[in-house]
């Protein structure tokens, strides 16, 4: 961990708002992106990021500085996403849970009156609805792994530790997930 990050965490641990502002500035965009891509909704992304920051206010003292800070953050974030998805699934008369096939509609797609991913307050050029729809068709664990690779900048080994599965399995899932994304987005003209 670099000295600047250590100082910022130290500042935040003392309850200094400036320290939390710096953490939000440093990690907020990545966390927001992760939450949005994982849930498909800007409203959920903002809500989860806010909740995450409040959790930090209360739990930053328990962070063990020996571990990588962003891995710690994204582990919490992944747990929050998992809980949010479970809560959505538990909503009666909204979702069908019988689909185990990756080609089946995702829970998000089954929500009646589902909001399109475009919402106010987001720069229009950043909206990639096709990508979001493709992501939502991935099996949830595979989607999480793909997103944690990008937003959490996590190694395969770290993801394997987080999900409690073998290293080779993580790579195989991510590999298949990436291939499927390209197919779904209609740009499978891979020179490789």
């Amino acid at each position: 961990m670099d000295d600047r990050l250590r100082a910022t965490i130290g500042q935040a641990r003392k309850g200094d708002a400036e320290g939390f502002r710096a953490l939000l500035k440093a990690y907020g965009p990545r966390l927001y992106g992760y939450f949005f891509r994982a849930t498909g909704r800007h409203h959920d992304a903002e809500d989860l990021l806010g909740e995450m920051m409040l959790r930090l206010v209360r739990r930053l003292k328990s962070y063990d500085e020996r571990g990588r800070f962003d891995q710690w953050l994204f582990r919490i974030a992944a747990n929050m996403v998992r809980d949010r998805i479970r809560r959505r699934r538990a909503a009666p008369n909204v979702l069908s849970f019988t689909a185990a096939d990756e080609d089946a509609p995702s829970p998000d797609e089954q929500v009646p009156g589902r909001e399109p991913p475009v919402e106010s307050g987001v720069l229009a050029e950043e909206v990639t609805a096709d990508l979001q729809q493709a992501l939502e068709r991935l099996e949830p664990t595979t989607r999480q792994m793909v997103l944690l690779r990008h937003f959490g900048q996590m190694s395969f080994k770290e993801i394997a530790g987080m999900f409690g599965c073998p290293l080779g399995t993580v790579l195989a899932r991510v590999h298949r997930g990436l291939r499927k994304l390209r197919e779904l987005m209609g740009d499978e003209h891979d020179p490789a």
Binding site: L24, G168, A192
Partner: protein, 180 residues
Amino acid sequence: MNMILREEQYERIARWLDGETVDLTSDEQAAAREMRERENLLSERLDVHAAPEVFARIERRVGAELARPRVRWVWAGAAVAAAAAVVLAALWFLRTEDVSPTPAPGGGLAHATHQELFAALHASTDAGELDLVDRDLSELEADVLVIQAATAEDLRLKALEREIEEFWLDHSPTLKPIEG
């Protein structure tokens, strides 16, 4: 490229992609290259930019959370200070009034004992004003008690919340795959 790889090959490629020194076969190298290309391509599209007001709203939530306990202590301190001020005012009032039926030797109320002050308070003929002070004291005391009770309750809730969170984090060392 749709080559079939075995689990141990995937593991070797993963270790190589993580930066370890691993000798890959040509098939494994091709798969690793393909993985990297696909990840890079996806990375260009994945980032999402939230509007600045999103972060401003979150900053306000964090600020409010940080300020909450301090505000409580400020209010509790203010109530105690107000109560002390009323007590001092009452003492000052007793001192300026000739309330002692039998002045203490030396003539001043400053030398009166607590018992004498108590007796003087009860013997006072200006019962209306004393009642007013008494009522003010009671109200302030009630305010302080309410604040103290709220703080204790909040502390209990906070402790419970912490325990739940710690349990939640301690018991999820690994993320179980979400069933599809």
